[in-house]
Symmetry: C2
Subunit: 93 residues, 2 copies
DNA sequence: AAAATTTGGTTTATATTATAAACTTGTTTA
DNA sequence: TAAACAAGTTTATAATATAAACCAAATTTT
């Protein structure tokens, strides 16, 4: 009746990050931070978790001389997001 | 951009309980337990939290000789649920 | 050019949560 | 009457989310 909700996505900030990434080709740390309003520490941790789950890829490079961390949603991540949304609808409809 | 999600409702089991109660006039502990597949302990704790938040009322009585705990969604609870659903849609659409 | 500030994060500590395991009280069944 | 079951509650534990503190490099200020 109530399907299990993916615990990786059932987190306010991680869900926001994935939702954001689902709409763009890629986004860097600073941008995600601004859009979500998260603190750096929290965002850093949650990005690690999404990465560990294989839901996003994280690429560290530089923009000019400044470090820049770029995140991208993987196929796995997109599918997990879709599944989560489907499951969630059982709860809220 | 991403609205804050009510932490009382952003919990798999509590959300299931509220979702369930939103569709019926009332439901007792055993029924909720069956429908959600939760363990008694977990359900007991989460019902307390929903009750403490004023989202449900809990009435202890007997069905025959057996104790029976009946739960009902309050107006506050229903409104919180609606708000949660609205907020969530910002994340998943 | 040295000092102070900002950028872009990471690491660590803490407080909260979710969950299961163990327990309680009373009832039914063998 | 002893064992098993029902309906929960309480307590312990493991996982989470979050913020606070920290760090290195770049930039700006004096």
């Amino acid at each position: 009746m109530f399907p299990k909700l993916d615990p990786v996505l059932h987190s306010e900030l991680r869900l926001a990050v994935v939702s954001l990434l689902a709409g763009v080709e890629s986004a860097d740390f600073t941008y995600i931070k601004k859009q979500t309003g998260a603190t750096s520490g929290n965002l850093s941790v949650q990005i690690d978790k999404l990465s560990a789950a294989g839901y996003i890829t994280v690429e560290k490079g530089f923009k000019g001389k400044m470090p820049c961390t770029t995140c991208r949603l993987t196929e796995t991540g997109l599918e997990a997001f879709r599944n989560y949304v489907t499951a969630l609808k059982e709860y809220i409809s």
